[in-house]
């Protein structure tokens, strides 16, 4: 599979992706082989089901949201191609000093996390959106009220302009002291 995939990936494509995302050619080929192995239909794109077929992802409480974040292109579509796939993954490259960190800057990472909450794309996390995430993460053993109060408390804590929503700026501010660069990075194998 790995051979075939690297065959399918042309040099200029690799170069383009490398230029776009900052992955090394080795990483790109490796990820492409992963991409094709996920692509059951051999159509060069991945559907949501292809993602959710990964067993661990399927039981990840936020699995659907994570998959969903791959599908947030400029337009609504239900398949991702390799370039989009790589563009999303590029968010998780470790931040390197003195290099171009367009996709994987701290802000980009934060934005990615923020988008996980923000379902309706209004750049605000509402109470309900936060509650939905809490539901997924915490599970069923906790009463609704408790979760609601946690959500309210969280918003109250971050909310600065008093609109009962968390804007992206407030989100960043709330995570000021968190080592996002490290927490949202993965060591991509070569």
């Amino acid at each position: 599979m790995g051979n075939r995939s690297s065959l399918l990936l042309r040099e200029e494509e690799i170069a383009q992706i490398q230029q776009e995302t900052g992955f090394t050619p080795n990483q790109i080929e490796r990820l492409y082989s992963r991409f094709t192995s996920l692509d059951r239909g051999d159509c060069g794109t991945l559907s949501r089901d292809d993602f959710l077929r990964i067993p661990e992802l399927a039981i990840n409480p936020l699995g659907e949201r994570i998959v969903n974040s791959f599908f947030q292109g400029d337009m609504y579509n239900d398949r991702v191609n390799f370039r989009q796939f790589m563009n999303v993954l590029a968010h998780f490259r470790p931040v390197k000093k003195n290099k171009d960190n367009r996709l994987n800057s701290r802000e980009a990472k934060l934005k990615f996390a923020f988008k996980m909450y923000d379902l309706d794309n209004d750049d605000l996390i509402s109470r309900d959106e936060l509650l939905a995430i809490l539901h997924m993460m915490v599970g069923a053993n906790i009463s609704e009220e408790q979760l609601t109060s946690i959500a309210e408390r969280t918003i109250l804590e971050a909310d600065e302009d008093g609109d009962q929503m968390i804007s992206f700026e407030e989100f960043c501010k709330a995570l000021q002291r968190t080592d996002v660069e490290q927490k949202m990075s993965i060591r991509f194998l070569n």
Partner: protein, 935 residues
Amino acid sequence: MAPKLSEIFPESCLLIVVGVVIGVILVHVTGSVHMSPLTPDTFFIYMLPPIILDAGYFMPNRLFFDHLGTILLFAVIGTIFNTFAIGASLWAVGQTGMFQCGETPPLDMFLFAALISAVDPVAVLAVFEEIHVNEILYIVVFGESLLNDAVTVVLYHMFEAYTEMKDTGIVTMDVVAGCTNFFVVAVGGTVIGIFWGMATGFVTRFTNEVRVIEPIFIFVMAYMAYLCAEIFHMSGILAITFCGITMKNYVEGNISHKSHTTIKYTMKMLSSSSETIIFMFLGVATVNKLHMWNTWFVVLTILFCSIYRAIGVILLTAVANKFRLNQLSKVEKFVMSYGGLRGAVAFALVLLIDEEIVPLQPMFMTTTIAVVYFTVFFQGITIKPLVKILNVKTAEKRKPTMNERIHEKLMDHLMAGVEDILGQHGNYHVRDRFKRFDNKYIRPFLLRNYQGAEPKILETYSKLAMRDAMEFMRRNASTIGNISGTESMSGIFKNYTAGNLDGSTSFSQLDSSNWNVDMQELEYNPSKKDLTDAKIHHLLAEELCQPKRHRRLSYSRHAVNDRDLSTQVNYKMHYNMRRMVGDSKRHHHKRHSKKLQKDGKQNHVSFPEFQQNGTAKQFSHDYISQVLSEEEVPDPKANKEEWDSPITFTAKSSPSDEAHMSTGTEGSGSVHFGLLLGIKRYKSTAAENYMPWRQDKTKCNVTDDSIYSDGMKRTSRGSIDESTRVTTPTATETMLPWKRDDEDECSAPLQQCEFPAWASNKEYLAYNSPSATFLGGLENNRSSVIGLFRRDSAASGHISSCESSPQKERRGSSGPNAIILIEEDVADPLGVLTRQLTAPTTSHPPLTPNLRRQIRRGSMLEISGITRNSIPEETLNRRASWLPPPPKSSRTPRVKIKRQRTVSSSTTLMSSSSSSESSIEEEDADIQSLMKAGF
């Protein structure tokens, strides 16, 4: 001068100096030849475990396991490398004859190198706690010092064994055995530690009744882990470290807040006293006459230690950085190598060397002390300024905010998901796996209140809520009037209380939840009127808080005086109402079904005798519906059914009365209602047949209930406040039945609904001394109630035919049924009970010498009448199911009920009430906190 000194020198240095001074004095004064209080035995058995346990228990788990790879690399490879490098170098130098101490056999040198090369956890802790380097640096150095114990122990024993058998010659087999030994020792120690950690978690699951012994378990079982490992010659340090790491996860979920504090402080105290003693004894032990100073050996040892430490760190970080996301920088490398302090472990180990076998032992001891002094003094003192100069990232200690907690959790899940997508099995993947496993298989078994997947979020939340509450109280204590601006706060408190009532352990700070109760009503019903009411309530609460506490203290024994008794009724009544209201879901339906009945449903039965109680009925309806009106009723359908079944039961259970029951269709008396409750409750006591006094109490409550409902809407309302303030007269009463229901079934809604109902009561304002009003009302109405009962008993006592009647009728029948036996059958019902339940159900306690007593007694009797009637029926019906009473098993009453409803409604009641019974203890805390709050 003094503060400056402690700023420059780490504590450990000063302690050693003190120790040396003491040692010198002792030697000169007593002339004793050898003062060595720090024997290896005392060190390893008594002094080391507390320090390591402290380290393990308060180890930041996440951090530790994130960097476990690096830590292990340093601990295992690094220590082995150091040992062999130092040993080889010393031996090589020894061959040149530089030491001039005669023979320097290689094995002796390796033995010495093994004990001198290990970084010492005690010394590292002592120094690193003061310099506050960033957490990664800290965890890497500290983790290394903990985990290298296994290596040290193995290497030490290996070389010791080799030295002992050097005459016979060492075969390859011995070397192989030494290597395997390492794995056995390390893995064995870890496994033992994890086992004991789990065991501790499991034990604390059952300590909720005896909170006092919780801390003991933590310490004893951790120590057991240590001893256990030592017995089997495993690594005791690893065992106790992992024991602490493991147990923390589960124990913290089970123990009470107070136990947590106790454990924390006891542990810190023990470990710091151990640390103090160790360093002081080290100083004292320095002063003896067995030293054998060898300048070259000492200097070279220190040199080699430093050099190889640095080399090891550089090499290993190069390796580690290949696998690490965040690279260890040069500065960090330097701090890591500079922080490789040696300490008391090495000293204790060198004392263990037998001089017979290793003739160089005195020299080794002197050198060890020299090395320890060098690292502790020189490196310990200079590391702080160096850290400042090198601008090492220092850690600020802080508690995570809610946002950080949640968003970081989100990131964890996100990263685990991304790793899965990438098909890489990294850290996140492993942790995710473990967490799933943990949540699925381990936590449910080790935690009493399994809280769902993210206990940390809840924990953070409860801590923050707690802090907010404290702050709020502190800030607003004097300015109670400004409550209106704090609705968000009160929301927090409300939920915090909700958490408490859910019985979640992470919210176990029950006693501190006093405030919340006030606050929540604000949030609850934020209309202006309520706010004003709440303000007044606050004022009252504050004023009345102190006296109440006093009184409570005075009662805690058997002292009962009339004044107490006069308030007791109110109190009981209050709690009775409370229970009524909060009696879990069942009560919620009560409301529903009641409403249904009120609407003229057929379920509704009444009899002429009770019609005079119309007002009371009305009131109780009002009150209850008002109280409950804002609650959300989960699963109303099921609830209704639940409610219905009790009705059925009461009817069935009173075969004797069914005949005499009338077919009225109007307005079930609130007395019925109360009695129904009473029956239920009484059932539960019957089921628990070992606590006879509870029954009496229940009865009392019922009486109060009925009195309460007896046409005294206004006064009783006012009296609620009174009763909240008032505490129970006797110690036993504090654990009595009114608490029974709250915990298990009433969660947050109970509290929420209760106060708004009160606070929104306009009439309350008119009653500045509610107790008086209430009592006055009581006086007026009492006779009528009793008369009522009398009449009933007279009417129903002789009718005891058992024909089955339709449900509607049954419901009504419970009322008269309850009243049948008021004064005649005191002994008889109880006798029946005793026989049936094989447990003595004593009569009412001599609580009330005055009139009230009569009332109560009447009610008791009436209840006992019920029981007598109901129990035979039950036994007929379904004896097997309830006779072996299921007291604590039914935590999920609804399920049970559903199952049993088809079989027999009486058993339904049984199960539900017993479930409520099971939660008495938990409620105690709740109630007490309430009382403390000044209600």
